[in-house]
């Protein structure tokens, strides 16, 4: 049963797999950054007292959290080039490829999830903090940026990182639009050489090692930031 497995194929394909892994990591980091920035903005909008800010933000977050990520990827894969063509007035979509569509898809998708995390984080900062800030004469933006958000983020870092690990796992879904991330690279080699068992088990192993060690570090970080009371 295990006799005709050929694990050499892994060694021979390491450079190609490495390129795929860089792609996965790059997409993860960029989407995380974009997602956190946009998510913070959305969270503030959801917490605002102006309906014109609150309702669109809530609508957006609820819509994206109800839709499967694969469908969101398809949406942006097909529509981003059309939108770029329309807005630039060119007869072609300048410079926007599948990678950019995927990046936009992931950023907008993750922003909805980050929004909820950040919103909870902001709400966990005692109300006294913002009240004190206002009493000292700080404006709303100043109070947010200098007092509330720093405390909120400090508490949220472990959860934000955990969501990042989930995002890293989700990048494997770019497979459906033919992009070559780590999983896509493993797949191509598996199909080209007929080595499904070896490549897919190897891919699972790598993902496991990366995610497990990162979440272990996050747990350690969490116990240092907020020791269990």
């Amino acid at each position: 049963m295990f006799s005709d497995l050929d694990f050499d194929v892994i060694q021979r394909s390491l450079p190609y797999l490495g390129k795929g892994m860089l792609f996965s990591l790059g997409l993860t980091l960029l989407a995380m950054l974009g997602g956190i920035v946009l998510g913070t903005l959305l969270a503030l909008m959801r917490l605002s007292s102006f309906r014109i800010l609150r309702l669109p933000a809530s609508g957006y977050v609820n819509l994206l959290r109800s839709t499967p990520l694969i469908l969101v990827i398809f949406w942006f894969y097909f529509l981003v080039p059309i939108a770029v063509k329309y807005f630039s007035g060119n007869s072609y979509a300048q410079g926007i490829g599948p990678f950019h569509s995927a990046l936009i898809a992931f950023t907008l998708f993750e922003a909805a999830y980050y929004c909820e995390i950040i919103r909870a984080g902001i709400q966990s900062v005692p109300a006294g903090q913002s009240q004190a800030a206002f009493a000292l004469g700080l404006t709303y933006p100043q109070a947010m940026v200098k007092v509330v958000l720093p405390q909120a983020f400090r508490n949220m870092i472990p959860i934000l990182l955990t969501q990042g690990i989930i995002l890293f796992q989700d990048t494997s879904l770019v497979y459906v639009v033919g992009l070559t991330d780590f999983m896509g690279a493993a797949s191509k080699i598996a199909q080209r050489d007929g080595r499904l068992v070896e490549m897919y088990l190897f891919a699972a192993l790598i993902y496991f090692i990366l995610c497990f060690s990162t979440s272990y570090c996050v747990k350690r970080l969490q116990s240092r930031i907020s020791p269990p009371r």
């Binding site: 469908l71 796992q169 993902y207």
Partner: protein
């Protein structure tokens, strides 16, 4: 936006494209619900094991949770569909590939079920651990055995506590069923893509698919909040919104 393509006869298999959409929805729900049965039952057992101090229950459960949480769902599906039939004894493997009806469906259900079970286990564990330990001690003090404690005290309260996150896991399973399109399950997202290739009405069909997912989500959320109201223990857990 022109939705008339829905009533046009589909390219193959008879029926209209609307039939394809309905078929897709049926598969989505079937995969999601079947996987949820596995996830809820297995996940609850594992969650309970993770709250005990009995080593031979705790460590295997922990190992399971860590393994299935840290490998992406797509990879797990591929392993169930492509790898498992190759590494089991060849007679069983051949049956799995040829004789078994709908191998992609079963692979999808198993992959999704086992993946979500790990997450449900964590919810159950945190639910039980958030119950004040006084409850456990009181139960033991009046003579209940540990299994009875779980059965009569911890689990009833625990499940009520975790109904909200459990709802969200159930919704995740419905959404994650879309990953099954990579192994050939013709669920809703797969059908939407197929239809867009045959009719070129990309925007319309993706809007329809998105709308269906939103409706499913809203329905489930509504039903679950009704359930929360029904099982609420007055005065114990702050219920409702």
């Amino acid at each position: 936006m022109d939705f008339s393509f829905l009533s046009q006869p589909a390219f193959s298999g008879g029926g209209t494209y609307l039939n394809w959409v309905i078929s897709g929805v049926q598969w989505t729900l079937l995969v999601g619900l079947s996987a949820w049965v596995i996830a809820l039952s297995l996940g609850s057992i594992l969650g309970v094991f993770r709250t005990t101090h009995i080593a031979w229950l705790y460590y295997p459960a922990t190992a399971y949770v860590e393994l299935f949480r840290n490998i992406p769902l797509l990879v797990q599906m591929f392993i169930w569909y492509f790898v498992v039939p190759e590494i089991v004894p060849s007679a069983l493997g051949s049956w799995m590939k040829q004789g078994m009806p709908m191998p992609e469906f079963w692979s999808a259900v198993l992959a999704l079920g086992f993946f979500t079970a790990a997450r449900v286990a964590e919810q159950v564990r945190s639910g039980i651990q958030s119950i004040p330990s006084g409850q456990t001690y009181a139960a033991l003090a009046i003579g209940l055995t540990p299994p009875q404690t779980y059965r009569h005290v911890l689990l009833p309260i625990g499940f009520r506590i975790i109904l909200p996150p459990l709802t969200s896991e159930f919704l995740n399973i419905i959404k994650n069923s879309s990953v099954a399109l990579t192994i050939g399950v013709l669920e809703l997202t797969a059908q939407a893509r197929s239809i867009s290739e045959y009719t070129f009405r990309t925007f319309e069909i993706f809007s329809l698919a998105t709308l269906v997912y939103v409706v499913i989500t809203l329905t489930v959320t509504l039903l679950m909040s009704q359930l929360e109201q029904r099982v609420r223990m007055p005065g114990y857990i702050g219920g409702g919104k």
